[in-house]
């Protein structure tokens, strides 16, 4: 697969200058996810009102930038808004490039549209989002009905 669209400037920026990185206290729910094929790991912490979302992890530019974008998009939103964004991001990633990304909803997240064409990298982009979903559930916040994704 050619690189067109994979390493967007936005993604590289988020990778080099991540937003909100580092685990912080207090929190109400935490989840640790691993991508067993490549060893990427992420821990996400969430407060019950989503006013605090913190994370830390090791991984490739895609998974790390995705975590940074997640932080930017979801922190401080209410459950309904977070759920809508979460749903839109997961849908975009599973679209194989067939879905038009909505910048209104996804903000910098639209830069990941190109990732959807790289099946091996979709997992990277989704890793923080799946960990967030679990952490949120543990904090008592149900984030949408996004289809389950295989690690």
């Amino acid at each position: 697969m050619m690189l067109d669209g994979l390493y967007q400037e936005i993604i590289l920026d988020h990778y080099k200058n991540p937003h909100g990185r580092g685990l912080r206290d207090p929190y109400d729910g935490e989840a640790h996810h691993v991508n067993p094929t490549c060893g990427d790991e992420i821990t996400v912490r969430v407060s019950h009102d989503l006013n605090e979302i913190s994370y830390d992890g090791v991984g490739c530019s895609i998974s790390q930038a995705s975590a940074s974008v997640l932080h930017e998009l979801l922190q401080g939103r209410d459950a309904a808004a977070a759920s809508e964004i979460h749903h839109a991001f997961v849908e975009l990633m599973q679209s194989r490039g067939q879905v038009e990304a909505d910048e209104e909803i996804l903000g910098d997240g639209i830069a990941f549209a190109g990732v959807a064409k790289f099946p091996a990298r979709v997992k990277c982009a989704l890793l923080p989002w799946m960990a967030f979903k679990d952490a949120a559930a543990r904090a008592g916040v149900e984030v949408g009905v996004s289809p389950e994704v295989k690690a």
């Binding site: 697969m1 691993v34 094929t37 790289f118 690690a151």
Partner: protein, 409 residues
Amino acid sequence: MSFDVERVRKDFPIFEREVNGHPLVYLDSANTSQKPVQVLDVMRAHQERYNGNVSRSVHTLGTESTEAYEGARARIATFIGAASPDEVVFTKNSTEAINLVAHSLGQMLRLGPGDEVVISEMEHHSNLVPWQLLCERTGATLRWFGITDDGRLDEADLDSLVNERTKIVSLVHMSNVLGTINDVSRIAARARSFGALVMLDCSQSVPHLPIDVATLGADLIAFTGHKMLGPTGIGVLWGRLDLLAQMPPFLAGGSMIETVTMGGTTFAAPPARFEAGTPPITEAIGLGAAVDYLTGLGMEAIHQHEQDITRYALDALTSVPGVRIFGPATVEGRGGTVSFDVDGVHPHDVGQILDALGVEVRVGHHCARPVCSRFSVPAMTRASFYLYTTTAEIDALARGLDQVRKVFG
């Protein structure tokens, strides 16, 4: 007949060859089937163009291989009516699938003295010996259904055989010797009422009958690629996803792990949990192509063709003097596998003389020695049919048996 067997045969290169100066008459498909060019071409193309290891690479070859491998899984899932591709575990053959279940369930259920595992006298050794060994390892007791004189599962003892001690019932769906297709609904219902798990050995049924696991009544089934137009080296375990998710791994190694340290390991979700090491990649892709081929013809049409051939064969064999057929005498509840005895001639000799005429049948105990013992013979001769079998081939078999009687007359 709407089923065009002559057109089907053109897809199988092997039918161009002769055996001992005669056209090949291949009546041993229950042992292993022949392979159409469509399957061979897909495998060859994969090996020449897309070969890479699966689930391990971000590179293009690896991604293409993974998509082909997982695509095959998805098509096989659809073929048997599975709820999700994740219910399809690739093994090397049916035998590995059954051993996997015997080991994993034994551990999951903490099988021990007082527990019972129920099979039947009709089992292939591959659905018999793994359970014997499981019972030896754990102290559980092995029990079994008998066979009636006309070759059907004897359910007379159902109430005592399946009881509150029963943990696993594992039965052959279609007998590789008698051809019997077992309706296991009563047994499965009773097993379920005691919370026992039900496995079916579908090695002979999935290749020949439309199978829908959603309605079959089993928790787990096993089948094998080489008997259904696919290559050797590939088999399938299907299981309900919620059950597979509870089962501990069997073979351990690369690709079935979540995370590994020297001190301990956690495991991936199914199906990966049960696919340790590099899987039979090209073989799975070949089985996917085989399933496409079968689906193209339609399993209902294939089954109908085999019923016609079997009816013809039962007639033909019945009219050869000295031939005794084991198993159901009519096509009702039976598939296209017919075992028989030629009075006074050992099956080895029957098979040898038939082979001299290009007619390939199997002789011996067919990896189901207890079935032979049940009918008090050391061995049997077996003719087994598939979508490419013709009535002319049955005629050749009948003529061959006349020859057998001449030599040993």
